[in-house]
């Protein structure tokens, strides 16, 4: 045996049940790293022309520690850019068994030239593998894709689908078209056929909203769930789930309890208007239950904890909720504190790990030193 193997063999390794899966963690790639990794044309483009999309943080500045946990800034970096700090503050501190990375560096790269978009996504995925997945067996990731250019997105999915540390495909909550549009179906089909759920994460082109642009970050943030309602309405009403029966989607960082009223809203609407959409041959709420998962962050906090439980039941969410911290953002949920009291032991276990294990095909037990 080599010295390393010998050390490994003598380390105490125990087998234990997986009890905590964090399904929304945000590593961040620093600009110079991206520039270095991009192909020459796009590295030069980045240097000369930058990125075209207005950052949402410019549209709606976050006057709350720049939108981050104030204690999550690594030396010389920005929150999420240091594996070591993330490991310490999140994975080790909270004893996380598996953490799913959602790197948002390409979230609004759809504003760019298609090949630039594709190149940015490619380097993000490469970086994730080298700097994160290869360094920590607890980590899994999304495949970041140039979603507004379906052929290029499918190529990126195919590139990584064989690495089972990639457990889903990442889109934002809004693109150039509503995400139920047929334009995107080939991307969803490619994900579904590769056995990968599609995560829609808060962000992207959240523009007019039918009411006009809000003025304040408070409205933008409190509106994340409203944007998700628009997104899910589009997915259902355009027949996306009817057309792609093996598609699973995860509404990420948009809350979950709004799903109760959305189900009733769509069911009533469909009961009256189903002749317009014959391809929807089931109740919308059935599509939602069969195809949609939700993460819990930011956890809703009604005054009366009973109300949380009631709405979970009303929305049939007990086996559709997955815990997330959203580290390192300011509205981070702590595993120990944020899960509502009164959630039964079984439901709690599902929320903290069980549902994610099933959705992502994670092992139920791990051997850890």
């Amino acid at each position: 045996m080599t010295q390393l193997e010998d050390q490994a063999a003598t380390k105490q390794v125990t087998r234990r049940a997986v009890e905590l899966v964090d399904v929304d963690i945000h590593p961040v790639m620093l600009g110079p790293d991206m520039a270095r990794r991009l192909p020459e044309r796009w590295g030069r483009h980045l240097e000369r022309y930058g990125r075209r999309a207005p950052f949402v943080t410019d549209l709606y500045p976050r006057p709350r520690n720049k939108g981050m946990r104030a204690d999550s800034w690594p030396e010389g970096g920005i929150p999420g850019s240091s594996y070591e700090l993330l490991r310490e503050q999140l994975l080790d501190e909270h004893d996380i068994d598996f953490g799913i990375l959602l790197c948002l560096n390409a979230h609004d790269a759809g504003y760019e030239h298609p090949e630039y978009d594709a190149a940015i996504n490619r380097v993000v995925n490469e970086w994730i593998v080298e700097e994160w997945l290869d360094r920590d067996e607890r980590l899994r990731s999304c495949i970041s894709v140039p979603y507004d250019h379906p052929e290029l997105a499918i190529a990126e999915i195919e590139r990584w689908a064989g690495d089972d540390r990639f457990v889903q495909v990442l889109l934002p909550a809004a693109g150039q078209e509503p995400f139920g549009s047929r334009k995107y179906w080939p991307v969803y089909r490619a994900a579904a056929d590769a056995g990968l759920p599609v995560a829609f994460h808060t962000g992207g082109y959240t523009g007019h909203r039918g009411a006009g642009w809000p003025s304040f970050y408070l409205e933008e943030h409190a509106g994340y769930g409203v944007v998700m309602q628009m997104l899910l309405t589009s997915l259902v009403c355009e027949g996306t789930f009817a057309a792609i029966p093996n598609l699973k989607v995860v509404m990420t960082e948009g809350g979950a309890l709004w799903a109760a009223a959305l189900r009733w809203r769509l069911d009533d609407a469909w009961s009256q208007l189903r002749d317009e959409v014959p391809e929807l041959d089931r109740l919308p709420s059935e599509y939602i239950h069969d195809h949609v998962w939700f993460d819990t962050q930011p956890m809703e906090e009604p005054d009366d904890p009973q109300h949380f439980l009631q709405v979970v039941e009303q929305a049939d969410l007990s086996d559709r909720l997955m815990f997330a911290t959203d580290y390192p953002h300011w509205d981070f949920d702590t595993p120990a504190q944020s899960v509502p009291r009164g959630l039964g032991k079984e439901q709690r276990a599902k929320l903290l790990a069980g549902t994610a294990i099933e959705l992502y095909g994670l092992p139920t037990h791990v051997d850890r030193a």
Partner: protein, 157 residues
């Protein structure tokens, strides 16, 4: 229980110090010459409250018309940003809101060595910590040279 933080001259305006008193972590703040001490744990989800940003009240007479009023006596939890008045521990949002425990801070003039040793002894320090030479929070008294002539900042816990 009195916990000695440090010498007054080592605690300038605008600074803060985190001390341990037994199992509790407490943040002590010097805000424009006034001292406040507050538990370093946000009642919301347990965040490290006392490393948060200090701000004064932002008082609005109407939309867009805001003045910053008074000294920065609100500490914002570095996690979710919930703010607490350093003096009362009250988050100001309304009735029934979570209150952080605020501790009375006094400056003890002319304390003797005996007083300080007694304060030390009052701190419930686990034997193991003492044996390891670690004092959880209180400023180690033996580093004070001639402290009877000095003012000490002392926390009543």
């Amino acid at each position: 229980m009195k916990v000695v933080v440090c010498r007054l001259e080592d605690f300038p305006e605008g600074e803060r110090k985190i001390v341990k008193a037994g199992p509790r972590s407490i943040g002590v703040f010097n805000v424009e010459g006034e001292f406040f001490a507050i538990r370093n744990r946000c009642p919301h989800q347990g965040g490290p409250l006392c490393i948060g940003r200090l701000s004064p009240w932002a008082v609005a007479s109407g939309p867009g018309k805001v003045t910053m009023d008074g000294p920065p006596r609100l500490v914002a939890c570095p996690w979710h940003g919930w703010e607490y008045d350093l003096e009362t521990g009250q988050s100001f949002m309304g009735p029934g809101e979570t209150r952080v425990k605020a501790y009375e801070v006094s400056v003890a003039r002319g304390d003797t060595l005996e007083d300080v040793r007694q304060a030390e002894a009052d701190v419930r320090v686990p034997a193991a910590a003492r044996a390891a030479g670690r004092e959880p929070g209180p400023y180690v008294a033996e580093t004070f040279p001639v402290y009877v002539e000095e003012d000490y900042v002392v926390v009543e816990v």
